[in-house]
């Protein structure tokens, strides 16, 4: 009976994997076809391996109206990294303050952070743009990342993680003479490493996928992220070179996948190594 259940589970999983993989495979195949063939709706499930050059072509030369893909990848990577690292740094410190220090209006501070969950970038896009303008950060790299850094979600998550740390561990560190910053560096961060890794992955992908804010704040092509680039390549009045769009889309997938895969091993290890 167990064998048949396994068989069923595997079938479902394989079907699910195929379902998710199919569009990516289609995009990969489309990248190797003639642009005209796609326009005629002649999608093929078999890639033309002699046309793999389109990947190299967009990577180095870009497409109509956009810089080379490697450049846009770099911008996206920088932005996603800045957002992920910035969010973690800020929320780590706020959660640390909220959990381990007794200061006036501690609860108020926490709930104020919490309420910002209801104010994502999309809601506050005009005031945020105005503030960025006052700070002269429109159309600059920091302007891409900074408004996206504040994060209630991550603060909330760290608060839960820190609250689960036994009081005795905190007290042992106090008796050992560790001050607050030492405690943060030597004990809190290593102990929460698994959560940190998981959060980094989620935030990196979140940053990578940002579309609306970069579209608003950055106008110069040198600040085009890969997501913006793909959209720009889909011409409205000119004919679209679909093979290049597809190639770019496939390339855009690679960095987040690499981050997920590399960090996955890390945080699975962190989870299994955690104390019982």
């Amino acid at each position: 009976m167990r064998r048949s259940q396994n068989w069923l589970a595997h079938t479902v999983l394989i079907l699910g994997a195929l379902l998710f993989a199919l569009p990516i495979w289609l995009a990969f195949c489309a990248a190797t076809l003639d642009p005209a063939a796609i326009d005629r709706g002649e999608l093929s499930l078999i890639p033309r391996l002699d046309h793999l050059g389109s990947f190299w072509d967009v990577l180095v030369h870009g497409g109509p109206g956009v810089p080379p893909v490697w450049r846009m990848l770099l911008v996206s990577f920088g932005m996603a990294l800045a957002i992920a690292v910035g969010k973690i740094a800020i929320s780590l410190l706020s959660a640390f303050a909220v959990v381990f220090f007794r200061f006036p209006l501690r609860r108020t501070a926490f709930w104020t952070i919490f309420v910002t969950l209801m104010l994502p970038v999309e809601v506050r896009i005009i005031p945020t743009y105005a503030v960025m303008g006052d700070l002269h950060m429109i159309d600059t790299f920091p302007g891409l990342a900074v408004p996206l850094i504040a994060s209630a979600t991550a603060t909330l998550l760290f608060r839960q993680t820190f609250a689960a740390i036994p009081d005795e561990l905190v007290e042992a560190a106090r008796m050992d003479g560790a001050g607050p910053l030492r405690f943060l560096k030597d004990i809190l961060i290593p102990v929460s490493a698994a959560n940190l890794a998981a959060l980094f992955v989620i935030l990196f992908v979140y940053g990578w996928n940002q579309y609306l804010w970069p579209l608003v704040v950055a106008t110069s092509p040198s600040l085009d992220t890969i997501v913006i680039g793909i959209v720009k390549m889909i011409g409205i009045d000119t004919s679209t070179e679909w093979n290049k769009v597809m190639a770019t889309a496939v390339i855009a997938l690679i960095p987040p996948v690499v981050v997920v895969l590399s960090m996955q091993r890390w945080f699975v290890r962190g989870l299994t190594e955690g104390e019982k």
Binding site: P166, E171, M175, G177, P190, E273, G274
Partner: protein
């Protein structure tokens, strides 16, 4: 080696006072065990000494220095926690060395101290392991090692054995005693386990509802409990506490059933009919043909001895501890030896000593 003096120490959490003035003085190298039921304030007392809580009033003086308001790390005190509180991501070596590193000790000195403590505790082979790879007993040893390497003036133990299984607890208990004697470090040890309290302490402090009830050597506490609470708390099975009244002249107690128990050690003060509580330990009740009949309700064999739970003719419950296996059936006859009697005032619960 250091003395510890605690003066009029009080602690309130909000409007609730949990410690109502503790006075205590430890000699150099002494091990004092603080014992009491949960909620008696024993852990709070320890945490005040550690500096993890601030007292509402009172003073703590360690080795002549007032440490009442000092930061925990500045007090020269090491603490062993109930749940070990080891840093999960650090090896055994790093767990022990962490406090020394923070204090900026030179590397060779840290090496020396950690290896010495590890040798003392039999942890040398485990120094590279992480806490999760250790058994409960080993973790407890590491927690002790972490305290030992600090070479503090005072050790604090917060129920360190309560997470271990019974067998391990016995051996660790002996080990703690041996180590403490050998290192000669003044120690405060908190427990709710009376066996630990009896075997470990040079002296015991029995706490009840935030008040010190008795401070004495373990045998003194056992032989002359200061009140009915201590009498019932120390000793297994618990002491029989029976309602009684003083006879005229104060020379004997009369149980509710009419049985007369003369005092072997002298008369007690008070008028005829003063309400008393008399205590007799189950192991001191004698089986005596021709004595008071006892109907046995329950027989609890413990191996080398047996506890009998019975009723006297007036339905008063009495437990009796006898050696070996009980073969006597459902009825027996007992006597209460006057020399083993404890006399307390029924109202205050305080011990009544004979007049001189």
């Amino acid at each position: 080696m250091a003395t510890l003096v605690i003066e009029k120490l009080r602690k309130s959490f909000g409007p609730i006072e949990v410690l109502h003035g503790i006075d205590l003085s430890l000699q150099s190298g002494e091990m004092l065990v603080i014992v009491g039921a949960s909620g008696c304030g024993k852990s709070t007392l320890l945490r005040l000494v550690a500096g993890l809580e601030e007292p509402t009033s009172g003073r703590i003086v360690l080795d002549g220095r007032d440490i009442t308001t000092l930061d925990p790390s500045a007090r020269d005190i090491a603490m062993v926690f109930q749940n070990y509180a080891l840093y999960p991501h650090m090896s055994v070596f790093d767990n022990m060395a962490y406090g020394l590193r923070i204090r900026g000790l030179p590397k060779p000195e840290i090496q020396r101290r950690v290896h010495e403590a590890a040798a003392l505790l039999g942890l040398e082979a485990l120094l590279a392991r992480k806490p999760r790879q250790l058994s409960g007993g080993q973790r407890q040893r590491v927690a002790m090692g972490r305290a030992i390497v600090r070479e503090p003036k005072l050790f604090l133990f917060d129920e360190p054995l309560s997470n271990l299984d019974a067998k391990l607890r016995v051996s660790m208990r002996a080990e703690i005693r041996r180590l403490q004697r050998r290192l000669g470090v003044t120690s405060l040890y908190v427990t709710h386990d009376q066996v630990e309290a009896m075997t470990l302490g040079d002296r015991l402090l029995v706490l009840h509802l935030g008040l010190p009830v008795q401070l004495a050597t373990p045998m003194e506490v056992f032989d002359r409990p200061a009140n009915t609470y201590v009498a019932g708390f120390i000793g297994t099975p618990a002491m029989n506490l029976l309602d009684a009244t003083l006879t005229a002249g104060g020379t004997a107690a009369r149980l509710e059933g009419g049985m007369l128990l003369p005092f072997a050690d002298g008369r007690r003060e008070g008028a005829d009919g003063r309400k008393l509580t008399v205590g007799i330990r189950p192991e001191h009740v004698r089986l005596e043909p021709g004595g008071v009949p006892l109907a046995i309700d329950l027989v609890e064999p413990l191996g080398s001895e047996t506890v009998l739970l019975g009723r006297m003719p007036d339905e008063t419950m009495l437990s009796v501890k006898v050696h070996g296996v009980w073969t006597g059936g459902e009825r027996t006859e007992i006597a209460i030896p006057p020399a083993s009697l404890h006399v307390f005032d029924a109202q205050s619960g305080l011990r009544l000593d004979p007049l001189r």
